[in-house]
């Protein structure tokens, strides 16, 4: 092994709207190692990766690849010539094409010859899979093979892509870097081993792997060393063999396990149940049952892919795969056949996580967005009263401190925090009794976050709230009770003093939980 690191990042800084997503981050990946990159949501992992792929331009920082300094920002596509390849969570395969077609997609795209032999390609595919010791049928369609085979295909395609590019460029073969960004999220745990075999195989062939994951156990199993990011800063690099899980959790979470400071949790106001879910099953979760009490703020936590957000969408009738039933004021309702209209009629409100796709229309004015839920109230004598609607929007922006208070400005022009406050306003102007939230403060600045928390707390006399969030600090601050989802099951609840950041994190990351 040589001592020049394959990848050396120093002082990498990226600022988004005044907030530092990355603050002088350092990362070194050596040749022939599997390097883990850990951190909570929003810690800067994905920003770092997007800088490596040339998607974001960093504000500061140096990059060295195989000892040579490389100018930042990277051009789009330049990562290929540096020997980087990325496999993201969604894998980037075309499911309606065959395995072989997917495997050689890049080669076909760049091919300059008029003829491409599929017979030859299939033979090559068979040989490649044999080399990596994985069993995939080259003629099968991608949507017919097992999830783990799909993941393996994506990884092999990435590695072969680098090899082919280098061979055709005639460049001397330098070690290359494969970045695996949460590749195991949708895999059953017993099949993850297949993938790990593949990763080891790749490292033996002289490449390095940067393994990005939420899952502590997996990272500890496969990596040689681990770097941890927290709030955009590098907080340490550990040798996997000599470090303990507890040490890692402490680095990720950023505090000693037993010294949590957060404001006292409000005691649950009532024991009256307003809503109970029985045996909810969706494409991600199985047999989930829980009660929501009157005035309670119930948190749902889990890692990406655990399905912790599914109850929220199912209750609002927008998960068409949901089955099971729920009881609302002694009225049994089946999840199948439930829809958004009936949910609104039952007094529910949903503020979804993705403001851009599900929450709002960016290219319509703020007034049109917040008034969407109350149009009928402003239609009398045959005229939609635009003046009154605008006044209603102005009042809402004032009440929820949305700035600037310009109701005619397009929604997309507001900052993330103000957009989110407006989304809350859109629903909270209705007399709804159950508030469903998913990631209520994602991409929201600190001030707005605090205001949103106050809004949620302020409504507990009239509303019961369910918050699905991957921000554990947020759940600890807000919730009376937190349900933990692990791999599609509701593993248990944390209550009272146990509702703190580290406990939630530990349980979500699969530490044995004393389920009640």
């Amino acid at each position: 092994m040589n001592n020049t690191p394959l990848l050396k990042i120093t002082n990498l800084t990226k600022v988004f709207g005044g907030q530092k997503a990355l603050d002088r981050v350092n990362l070194t990946v050596n040749v022939g190692e599997v390097h883990g990159l850990l951190g909570e949501n929003g810690s800067g992992k994905s920003t770092l990766i997007k800088i490596l792929s040339g998607f974001y331009e960093p504000d500061e920082g140096q990059l060295e690849v195989n000892g040579k300094s490389v100018a930042l920002p990277l051009l789009p596509g330049q990562y290929r010539s540096l020997g980087f390849e990325f496999v993201h969570q969604d894998l980037g395969l075309l499911p309606s094409l065959t395995v072989t077609e997917n495997l050689f997609m890049g080669r076909i795209a760049e091919s300059r010859t008029p003829y491409f032999s599929w017979l030859n390609a299939r033979r090559q595919a068979t040989k490649i899979f044999a080399d990596y010791d994985v069993n995939i049928d080259p003629s099968a369609y991608v949507d017919e093979v097992r999830p783990v085979q799909r993941a393996a295909l994506a990884i092999i395609r990435a590695i072969e892509g680098i090899k082919y590019l280098r061979a055709s460029a005639g460049a001397e073969v330098e070690p290359s870097l494969l970045v695996l960004d949460e590749p195991t999220v949708y895999l059953p745990s017993q099949e993850v081993d297949v993938l790990f075999g593949l990763v080891r195989n790749i490292v033996e062939q002289g490449s390095s792997v940067l393994f990005v994951s939420h899952n502590l156990d997996e990272v500890r199993q496969i990596t040689n060393s681990i770097s941890v990011l927290r709030d955009g800063r590098s907080v340490g690099t550990l040798n996997t063999e000599t470090s303990t899980k507890r040490e890692l959790v402490r680095l990720i979470v950023g505090r000693d396990l037993d010294q949590d400071e957060f404001e006292p949790i409000p005691v649950s106001r009532s024991e009256d149940t307003v809503l109970s879910v029985n045996g909810l099953t969706t494409s991600l979760v199985q047999d989930v049952s829980f009660d929501l009490r009157k005035g309670e703020i119930l948190g749902l936590a889990g890692l990406a892919g655990s399905g912790f957000e599914d109850p929220v969408y199912s209750l609002f009738g927008s998960d068409r795969t949901a089955s099971g039933e729920f009881m609302l004021s002694d009225l049994p309702v089946k999840f199948s056949g439930h829809n958004e209209r009936s949910a609104i009629g039952m007094g529910m409100a949903l503020v979804p996580a993705d403001r851009k796709i599900f929450g709002s229309i960016f290219d319509l004015p703020m007034a049109d967005n917040v008034n969407l839920t109350v149009l009928d109230n402003f239609f009398f004598k045959g005229i939609l009263r635009h003046n009154k609607l605008r006044k209603n929007a102005r009042d809402l922006l004032k009440e929820f401190d949305v700035r600037p208070q310009l109701v005619g400005m397009d929604y997309g022009l507001f900052s993330g925090g103000n957009q989110q406050k407006a989304m809350m306003a859109k629903w909270l102007q209705l007399p709804q009794a159950i508030l469903l939230l998913h990631e209520p403060t994602q991409g929201v600045d600190i001030g707005a976050r605090e205001q949103i928390y106050q809004v949620i707390r302020g409504r507990t006399s009239t509303m019961s709230t369910i918050i699905a969030s991957s921000d554990f600090e947020e759940l600890a601050t807000l919730c009376d009770r937190v349900g933990i989802f692990v791999k599609g099951r509701l593993a248990g609840f944390l209550t009272g003093d146990d509702v703190n950041h580290s406990k939630i994190a530990e349980m979500c990351m699969g530490e044995s939980a004393d389920a009640r």
Binding site: G18, D231, G254, R255, F262, E263, F316, S318, E340, R341, A343, I344, L350, P352, I357, F358, G359, S360, I361, F362, D363, L364, D368, L372, T373, L375, D376, F378, F379, G382, I383, L384, H386, D401, R403, P404, L406, G408, M409, D410, Y411, G412, L413, S415, G417, N418, D445, I446, G447, A448, R449, E450, Q451, Q454, E473, E474, T477, H501
Partner: protein
């Protein structure tokens, strides 16, 4: 950790006040530019009129010419208004022109060859259009087929039916009462047909602008998920938009019969492309970025005034094809530019 537990942080500590000023300024500047943009087409139209009134005072600036332009293109206004309803909900209806033709043929055939009274023939034409719209909408919403494909197929089927029913011959001799109601009777020197288009423009404007329905159509077209999560029945709205488009197209067909007293196997079909050109051009005017009734109205008359003017200068018939084709591409390019600019500002 970064979350301070400060209940009631005073406003002004949120680090957004500095941003506020510049946002406000750019919003105001944007508002002025927006106003100009909104009336640009109207101004261009008036410009064309003024210029050609000076160039060709003896032909162009005559009341008979004005009245003829307003009347003969009212049909295009009606068909374009039909088109902008599904366009607002995010669907294409390529069958509007053929539905107009089909309803024209239905009226003529039933009234002339089968001797049905005029009112019954008109009712039958609307019934046929209702059926076509319901099938279009059903295929799009229930089976989830692309509206472009559904209506392309449907318009081809209708063209076939028209040829079949008319036996490839033009049917003439429709009840003159219809001709009276459409073109012969005048108000202020302009045939009634223009006022029908004007009234319809008012109705669509009213629905789009002053009813919750109009707002819901818009939202359903912009983002189906957001609409669904707000409790809007997206499928029903899209279906209803296809039905409404067909019914209005049928009205256009009836006006065509009234204009000429006859209907043939290719009646109405030529309106498709001009209607798309006018619809997209209209979406850049009056309320830029939205398909809207008055924008449509102005766009139609801008286009036909331009063509008439060119023809008065001696251009031949072919010029209208060049003009409409160019206008369609330019209008779509322009409306995409508007959209992109708004999105860019959004980030």
């Amino acid at each position: 950790m970064t979350t301070p537990s400060l209940p009631g942080s005073p406003p002004g500590t949120f680090g957004e006040d500095t941003k506020l000023e510049s946002t406000k300024a750019s919003a105001l500047k944007g508002r002025f530019a927006g106003k100009l943009e909104a009336y640009a087409l109207l101004i261009a139209w008036l410009g064309v009129i003024v210029v050609f009134s000076f160039v060709k005072p003896e032909t162009f600036a005559q009341w008979s010419n004005v009245s003829s332009i307003l009347a003969s293109n009212a049909i295009l206004v009606v068909i374009t208004l039909a088109l902008i309803i599904p366009l607002t909900t995010g669907d294409f209806d390529l069958s509007v022109a053929s539905v107009a033709g089909l309803s024209a043929v239905t009226v003529a055939q039933l009234n002339v060859n089968l001797g049905w009274p005029l009112w019954l023939a008109i009712l039958a034409a609307f019934a046929v259009a209702l059926l076509v719209g319901a099938i279009n909408g059903g295929l799009i919403v229930l089976l989830g087929i692309e509206s472009l494909i559904v209506t392309l197929g449907m318009s081809t089927i209708i063209t076939g039916v028209m040829l079949w029913v008319t036996d490839a011959r033009t049917v003439t001799g429709v009840d003159p009462a219809l001709v009276d109601m459409v073109i012969r009777n005048r108000f202020l020197g302009i045939p009634f047909i223009f006022y029908y288009a004007l009234i319809l423009t008012f109705i669509i404007w009213y629905i789009f602008q002053f009813t919750p329905l109009g707002q819901r159509l818009l939202v359903a077209g912009r983002n189906r998920d957001v609409a669904r999560l707000a409790g809007i029945r997206v499928g029903l709205l899209r279906w209803g938009a296809m039905v409404a488009a067909s019914l209005i197209a049928a009205l256009a067909g009836i006006l065509i019969v009234g204009l000429s007293g006859s209907a043939g196997p290719s009646t109405g079909l030529d309106y498709l492309l001009p209607a798309f050109a006018a619809a997209f051009l209209g979406s850049t005017a009056i309320r830029p970025g939205r398909f809207n009734a008055w924008g449509t109205f102005v766009a139609v008359y801008f286009l036909v005034t331009g063509i008439t003017a060119l023809q008065l200068l001696g251009a031949k018939t072919f010029v209208q094809y060049l003009f409409y084709g160019t206008a369609l591409i330019l209008a779509v390019a322009l409306s995409q530019h508007i959209k992109r600019r708004r999105l860019k500002q959004g980030f």
